[in-house]
């Protein structure tokens, strides 16, 4: 239905096709882009960046979360700062990143990472804090302490909260990635958008938008939903 309306309005609108391309035209560009490797390469580049940035964010977030949970002093100082930092959209860091690292891959990676890190930190902290005292007592009576205690009780018990943190963190860094690539270049889907604009190829722009939407949906609804469901099944929590 939407496809039909799009096709018809595009043909009847009187706007030149480079401004408002028809569905068939977009589809053609999309398929061509995938076959020729132009879009595929961009997807690869973007996914590589986000996965790396995301991985760093998870690790840093868990570590910071641990210290905030463990030490009152860190909570009062760093904990407060993190909450404030979380409210800054990560693209705002970009000017700073350009000055620090130059207009390159590293700057984009930086804002992708920073977009996810604070959310991960906040979620990890509250996950750790909400581990039922009963589990902690049980583990302690069996002689668990130190790293073993964190690994076998604190971490697994906060998994549900960490997963919902991952989900939000992903959304943040995905947006940051697109914005960063759009401004910073260096390949990737965002750069392809910018290229489409400068070449006046709206069919390419829309193709990329479709790809962005598809990847976003797959990650959210397939990857994270599945992980979440698995955990819920195992724990017997009903959503």
């Amino acid at each position: 239905m939407i496809a039909a309306i799009w096709e018809v309005t595009s043909r009847l609108s009187g706007l030149p096709s480079f401004m408002f391309p028809s569905l068939t035209q977009v589809f053609e560009t999309l398929v061509n882009g995938l076959i020729s490797g132009q879009i595929t390469a961009a997807i690869g580049k973007s996914m590589g960046r986000i996965l790396l940035g995301f991985l760093i964010a998870i690790i840093v977030g868990l570590i910071l979360g641990y210290f905030i949970w463990r030490y009152k002093l860190v909570e009062d100082t760093l904990g407060f700062v993190v909450t404030a930092l979380q409210s800054i959209p990560s693209i705002v860091w970009f000017p700073l990143a350009i000055i620090w690292f130059g207009l390159n891959d590293f700057s984009i990676l930086f804002i992708v990472t920073i977009g996810a890190t604070w959310t991960m930190t906040v979620n990890a902290t509250s996950g750790f804090k909400n581990v039922p005292p009963l589990y902690q007592r049980v583990a302690k009576t069996y002689g668990s302490s130190g790293f073993h205690f964190v690994r076998t009780v604190i971490l697994p018990a906060s998994v549900p909260q960490i997963i919902s943190g991952l989900r939000i963190a992903w959304a943040f860094s995905w947006r940051a990635l697109m914005a960063g690539e759009l401004l910073g270049g260096g390949g990737g889907l965002g750069q392809l958008l910018e290229m489409g604009r400068s070449l006046g190829q709206m069919d390419l722009v829309i193709s990329v938008m479709i790809i962005i939407a598809i990847i976003g949906t797959i990650v959210d609804n397939v990857v994270f939903s599945r992980i979440e469901r698995n955990v819920q099944m195992k724990w017997g929590v009903h959503s």
């Binding site: 007592r137 049980v138 302690k140 009576t141 069996y142 697994p156 017997g236 929590v237």
Partner: protein
């Protein structure tokens, strides 16, 4: 003595930042292989005492010794079965039971073998690979008991372990706990507010006075118990415990409801449920 509690005193700070004495100069000795039960009104510090023995909390003064060693931190020689099973939901029944063994660096094969043996003792062989949420409340508590027993502890500390269960399940578990106690000869320290439960299970009942928590009297339970049906001896003992506790219950009620509360002497005797209620 196997478990020695020596002049133990403990304070808590309440919400009004006042120091409240919860345990006042507790002295108690428990022999190896015996079954001791602590009863008292809620808030009398009986659970606090259990936590101190477990090493989850430290006394302000006094010492606790288990098998000659001073207690200063939690350890697998004194495992606790809590009111709620506290099984880890991310582990299967078997993994829950082997948790402590693996901590002791026992090989997985050996730990599994031991765990299966104990799970058989609590009749859960069928549910070895289930997750806790698939089990009923009584089954969860069986797993918790198995998890504790598999450690072969010096003392099994039980903190109102059956109070969240329904009557039938509780009766069955009483019987089974007695069987386990007889076969394993484990020393059991059992905290409850249910007088009947205490009388039917324990050899000795320590009756606690409240505010501050103090040992009021220690009663030996005479008969052989099966944990199921109350006979005249258990009923008699129950009455005895109840009459000792009466004064304490009155004290709690007066404190909570003001001095206009008048307590009818002998009234409680007519109830034979033995449960003082957990929320007075």
């Amino acid at each position: 003595m196997y478990l020695t509690i020596d002049n133990v005193t403990k304070h808590f700070v309440n919400q009004q930042k006042q120091k409240v004495k919860v345990l006042d100069d507790i002295n108690l000795e428990v022999e190896k292989g015996s079954f001791v039960s602590i009863v008292g009104p809620s808030g009398c510090g009986k659970s606090t005492l259990l936590y101190l023995i477990a090493g989850l909390d430290q006394p302000d003064s006094g010492d606790i010794f288990v098998a000659g060693n001073k207690v200063n931190k939690p350890g697998p020689d004194r495992v606790v079965v809590f009111q709620e099973a506290g099984l880890f939901p991310w582990l299967t029944v078997l993994e829950n039971v082997t948790y402590g063994l693996k901590l002791k660096k026992m090989s997985t094969a050996k730990a599994n073998e031991k765990a299966l043996e104990v799970l058989k003792m609590v009749h859960l062989s069928k549910y070895v690979h289930s997750y806790p949420h698939q089990l009923s409340g009584g089954m969860k508590q069986r797993v918790a008991i198995a998890r504790a027993l598999v450690m072969e502890p010096d003392i099994l500390l039980m903190d109102e372990p059956f109070s969240a269960l329904d009557e039938q399940t509780r009766m069955v578990l009483h019987k089974e706990l007695l069987e386990i106690w007889r076969t394993t000869k484990v020393t059991i320290f059992f905290v409850t507010h249910n007088i009947r439960e205490a009388v039917q299970l324990a050899e000795r009942i320590v009756v606690f006075a409240t505010r501050p928590g103090k040992i009021k009297e220690i009663i030996a339970v005479p008969a052989l118990r099966d944990g199921v049906m109350p006979d005249s001896v258990t009923l008699n003992t129950e009455q005895k415990v109840l009459s000792i506790l009466q004064e304490e219950i009155e004290k709690v009620l007066k404190e909570e409801m003001g001095n206009d509360y008048s307590f009818k002497t002998g009234h409680l005797h007519r109830y034979d449920s033995g449960d003082m209620g957990s929320h007075i």
